[in-house]
Subunit: 137 residues, 2 copies
Amino acid sequence: MYSIGDLSRRTGVKVPTIRYYEQMGLIRAAQRSEGNQRRYERSDLERLAFIRHARDLGFDIPAIRDLIALSHHPEAPCSGADRIAEDHLSAVREKIERLRKLEQELERIVSHCSGHSVEDCYVIRALSDHGLCEAEH
Amino acid sequence: MYSIGDLSRRTGVKVPTIRYYEQMGLIRAAQRSEGNQRRYERSDLERLAFIRHARDLGFDIPAIRDLIALSHHPEAPCSGADRIAEDHLSAVREKIERLRKLEQELERIVSHCSGHSVEDCYVIRALSDHGLCEAEH
DNA sequence: GCTAATCCCTCTAGCCACTATAGGTTCAAG
DNA sequence: CTTGAACCTATAGTGGCTAGAGGGATTAGC
């Protein structure tokens, strides 16, 4: 039997976050001690580690809920889980793409600024005048 | 004189967002018509375009506040503005870096899954077992 | 001058995944 | 039995908006 603090130390998930996951229905409501404190078993530890891992990989809570539901049906085809992961990968790639465009534009703006005063600062001028942009955004 | 809707159409910033920017102190409280509706001048339009542009580039609201303040001191050295832009560029690069690691890990997980049932689905297994990860995260 | 359509007003609440705080209770070690 | 750490619930805050309710203002056409 683990206390919520034990679980937190073992998984790296903060105590309030564990309670939050319970609220969100990611982990079941734990058993309670006589004094109303949460008491967890090994299976709860494993599930929380699963959640932590999925969050680290950027899956959002509804996706994790779905993945957990799927993992309870070992016989089912795994196309559902694959689909969730692939969708997430696409989303990550889109974010990267957007950030790379941003990076380029910012690089250009920063490197063009050799001004000494705000008056001729390229950073400020570029923000004031959209015509100075290379890409659309 | 522009109404808030005119401003919105001309800058692409939605009406409630303009009011929100006013609340946040990014644009000054506009003059009002007799019937208490906001009335803007050309200078407000320009400032809002500046804000829109900065937001598109991912600057957060405190940074934009600082950039606006700086732009009002044309004689001042522009190192402050450069600094803000460089800091933001670094932050963007860090985000890209983190997302690229995520992308790699997800790619690996997705591509390893040739299972047909959840039981041997690599996606699920990888999430359950941190030992299957390449990188730390 | 009237009406209808469209715009505008304020205020409040919701989004996401937490995090922080307050005020109180329980547990475990000594 | 006492102390101090850990635990409990409930509420509010984060950022940058967005949505909705319930009303008032403006404007174009008749």
